[in-house]
């Protein structure tokens, strides 16, 4: 029983962290139809910033600064690497995203010297708590609630504010929205800002829980978060969150299966198999809308 609880606990917390990244993917894809391959690496860079900033500044100052700098990074990436390619084929933008991801990983290798870096322990979050006989970190308990809170705030933003309305309009029809006088570039920037801010929060939670950061740390969570976004139906925020929790939980359950089956190595492969199955049988995901191509 204890064991089951511990597996579910880590599943929920992993899922929550994926959810925060997945929202960034789903928002960007909803609007630009771009798989932002660099998003996972932005998440990794946010983690590194956390390390370098807390080394010289107090936590209360450095954490907000991490979020701000990550937002700046996300915004800059959009302006420099994606905006010039607005009229180019979708493939070019995706290649540009892969290029940015490559650049961020290589720069991180250069800066850290390829050494795994240790994330600082954050008071309270890093503290341990005993839950039904299983010891765990506070961050594990807090993550799902924080995610829910952020998602609620985000849905208010998207459904009740003018910016949110513009975002919805742009994701429905890019060209018409432009004709209707929506400033596309600002909307896209806002999207990237929200996505990056959430990735920064995600990085704080994730790396508090799993404190070693290598330049490749962002790639896997990034890809999985993308799968979660597809699973939930791309463009749908609740979909992405539910998808992320499901994937997080499935993954930890697979890892937790009896060793004699020797299937725990397939926890990542499972995510991708799920992706292929979803794409083939229900390409619009759980909550996405089916789109028909106009001929």
């Amino acid at each position: 029983m204890e064991y089951v609880i511990s597996v579910l606990l880590s599943g929920v917390s992993v899922g929550g962290q994926y959810a925060l990244i997945a929202i960034g993917y789903t928002l960007v894809y909803g609007i630009l139809r771009l798989i932002n391959f660099a998003h996972g690496d932005v998440f990794m860079v946010a983690g590194l910033m956390g390390i370098y900033l807390t080394a010289s500044l107090p936590i209360s100052l450095s954490l907000p600064l991490v979020i701000i700098l990550t937002v700046v990074l996300g915004f800059t990436i959009e302006r420099v690497a994606y905006k010039p390619l607005r009229e180019a084929p979708r493939m070019s933008v995706m290649i540009s995203a892969i290029g940015v991801s490559y650049l961020l990983q290589n720069t991180a290798t250069y800066v850290t010297g390829g050494q795994p870096m240790t994330y600082p322990s954050i008071p309270f979050l890093s503290g341990t708590v005993n839950l039904a006989g299983t010891q765990t970190k506070w961050v594990v308990i807090i993550t799902p609630f924080l995610v829910l809170g952020l998602v609620l705030a985000l849905s208010v933003l998207i459904n009740k504010t003018k910016v949110g309305m513009a975002m919805r309009a742009v994701s429905k029809d890019f060209e018409t929205s432009r004709l209707m006088g929506i400033r596309i570039n600002s909307v896209i920037s806002v999207t990237f800002i929200i996505g990056s801010a959430l990735a920064a929060v995600g990085s704080i939670l994730f790396f508090t829980n799993y404190p070693a950061i290598t330049p490749m740390s962002g790639a896997m969570p990034g890809l999985k978060a993308f799968v979660a976004a597809v699973f939930g139906g791309i463009g749908s925020i609740p979909g992405a969150v539910i998808g992320a929790f499901l994937i997080g939980i499935c993954e930890t359950i697979i890892k937790g299966l009896p060793s004699s089956w020797d299937v725990s190595v397939f926890s990542d492969a499972f995510t991708f198999a799920l992706l292929i199955v979803i794409l083939v049988f229900k390409p619009q995901g759980l909550f996405g809308e089916a789109a028909t191509d106009k001929v």
């Binding site: 798989i35 690497a81 490559y102 650049l103 720069t107 250069y110 020797d262 990542d268 794409l279 390409p283």
Partner: protein, 393 residues
């Protein structure tokens, strides 16, 4: 028609290139005292070999991404299949126990090369002939296995739209890697351990009885195989099927309306591209002298994709050119960026380990953003263009 005549200069060019490679490889033993760069062990030849291998993979990816408009990121996965097929089939049976030491030998207790040695004898010319034949057949089988898996996976995923296809094939490659690393399949794949001991490029060097190399062919062989494969791809691109692929790339709906069976042609392109990626994977295994699933990561696919972009999506010669530049820069010319450099007492700033890759990725971003056509766009280097230039003068 006129078209067929254009192949004559192209063939002459390829033959000349191959002869040049043989000459280059052996020049240090013919003319002593040349700069060390011509030594058979110099980085020049390592780079040439790797570039030859990569250019095949890049061209195969270009066939899919550039000529058929299918954005697949599964290239590393198909290379993995090719590499393992080749390795498993050619490791001499006598060495299998040593290589598969964790698993008490391999489930496939035979080797194609051994099989032919049984027929033609293992020494002298018979041995050489057996090895060449065995390697060739293993290479073809490597391609076939990759092509077969492409056929299987293509059935569900080729119906997907561009970026979904990309992510699904990427996922497929990751799944393959996990399977090939699985310890339970160890008797076949050697689990996490690398498979080694199979014939590599150096096995093609002609040696005398005491093992001294007389004629080096270790760079020539990858060039020869790659040239043949690329020639096949070019012939395909210039055939009726190649035109149909390009029609799909330009406008899928129109292609279908004009009678191009969309799914069949997409599958065809995917299988052919994967076949050559499989052969490329086998050549890669020959280049690194081992096969290990760890090497075939998505980073490798990205690297090849970036080569294709640098060379120009839709240009075969661009891909080849870009591969040689890319490999030479990343593995040889730019290596100096990785070590500290002093001019007198002045220490050049920034230079330390990892800087090479940073510079490299910045250059790639510049190309992607500002020179999105790549080196060649969708044009080709051809003798025709050459002649045109002459006529203008």
């Amino acid at each position: 028609m006129k078209k067929s005549k254009n192949y004559i200069p192209a063939l002459t060019g390829i033959t000349a290139l191959l002869l040049f490679v043989v000459l280059l490889e052996n020049i240090s033993s013919i003319i002593p005292g040349l700069p060390s760069v011509f030594d058979p062990t110099s980085p020049l030849f390592t780079v040439l070999k790797k570039a030859a291998v990569y250019s095949l993979v890049a061209v195969s990816m270009n066939l899919l991404n550039g000529f058929t408009g299918l954005f697949s990121l599964g290239q590393a996965g198909f290379m993995l299949l090719g590499a393992y097929t080749y390795a498993i089939l050619t490791v001499p049976a006598a060495q299998k126990d040593q290589v598969y030491y964790l698993f008490g030998g391999c489930a496939f207790d035979f080797s194609i090369v051994d099989m032919f040695e049984g027929i033609f004898g293992s020494g002298g010319a018979g041995g050489a002939f057996s090895m060449i034949l065995g390697v060739l057949i293993a290479l073809i089988l490597a391609g076939c296995v990759a092509g077969f898996f492409a056929f299987l996976i293509g059935f569900p995923v080729l119906r997907l739209k561009s970026d979904y296809l990309a992510i699904a094939t990427l996922g497929f490659a990751e799944i393959l890697r996990a399977i090939f690393q699985w310890q339970k399949l160890g008797p076949i794949t050697n689990g996490a351990n690398m498979i080694k001991g199979f014939p590599t490029f150096s096995s093609f060097n002609i040696t005398d009885a005491s093992g001294n190399v007389i004629v080096r062919l270790s760079t020539f062989v990858p060039f020869l195989i790659t040239s043949l494969c690329i020639l096949l791809i070019v012939l395909l691109i210039h055939s009726s099927y190649g035109r149909a692929f390009m029609a799909i790339r330009d406008d899928e709906v129109a292609a279908e309306a004009m009678g191009v069976a969309l799914f069949r042609h997409k599958t065809l392109s995917f299988v052919i591209s994967s076949f050559f990626a499989g052969v490329g994977g086998a050549l890669f295994a020959m280049y690194v002298a081992n096969a290990q699933a760890k090497a075939f990561t998505s980073t490798m696919t990205y690297e090849i994709l970036l080569i294709v972009v640098i060379g120009g999506i839709g240009s075969v010669s661009g891909s080849v050119l870009a591969t040689f530049l890319y490999v030479a820069c990343s593995e040889w010319w730019l290596r100096f960026l990785d070590s500290e450099l002093y001019f007198g007492n002045f220490k050049v700033p920034l230079l330390r380990n990892g800087f090479r890759m940073v510079v490299f990725s910045v250059v790639i971003m510049i190309i992607v953003l500002f020179f999105s056509q790549g080196i060649m766009g969708n044009r080709e280097i051809s003798f025709k263009a050459f002649r045109k230039g002459k006529n203008k003068q």
